[in-house]
Amino acid sequence: MRNGASDVLNQFRQGDADAFEALFRQHQRAVYGWILRIVRNPVTAEELTVESFWRIYQARARFDPAQGFEGWARRIATRVALDWLRTRRTEGEVSLEVCAEATAPTAADPAVTAEIRRKTAMAFGRLPPKLRIAATLAIIEEQPQKEVAAALGISVAAVKLRVFRALRLLRKDLEKQGITP
């Protein structure tokens, strides 16, 4: 079984389409889920999953079967999602679903009004993408920092620093709007 998996990885590296499809079928759900956590929109996540697997296929020659497919694919997917955040989500452009989500009634602290949640979501959307992606994965999605670091290709200490900077910038932005968390 192990040899079979190894064969598929080696065949994929050599450009075998069937091996690529087998890997796609095996990992598409995980890649989609990871991207969805970052972009928070199912339709966009689907598009970026396709883009990720296309880039995965393009980069197959650089794939090291000994390192495993999942982590490598996740790293490429994170880069695709980060590119999307950089190009599509310019300052102040927060998608409607994020605002709707932020204003929807939740089981959250009733002292935090829908307006504060909306303004927080908007302010979060204005953060630099590199900080936003780290904060999204580590705080909102509560992913282990080690996994976030591996996906972003940085150290755990760098993840902590980015999260801290994201929170500090977010706090400053909210304070400017008269909100003191």
Partner: protein, 79 residues
């Protein structure tokens, strides 16, 4: 920002943007989309924008320069 501030910011952020349900997979089969991207890549010419007449023009210029080397500065002037 102290630890307390950091914790309150984290709490506020989670309330504003709750985690998404990432357990559900995509709603459609994405494989045809990947195939389309791959096919588009294969169907695309190796060097788009480089047509046969570009090659012919270049060959003509090289031939002309070989026959009339004194014309090279004139060509360079008009480039």
């Amino acid at each position: 920002m102290n630890e307390h501030d950091e914790d309150s910011m984290k709490k506020l952020l989670r309330q504003a943007l709750p985690p998404v349900n990432s357990n559900a997979g995509p709603e459609r089969d994405l494989w045809p989309g990947v195939l389309l991207r791959l096919d588009a890549r294969v169907a695309a010419p190796a060097s788009p924008g480089w047509a046969w007449f570009d090659g012919a023009l270049l060959a003509g210029l090289v031939g002309l320069a070989a026959i009339f080397p004194t014309a090279i500065p004139v060509f360079l002037y008009y480039l």
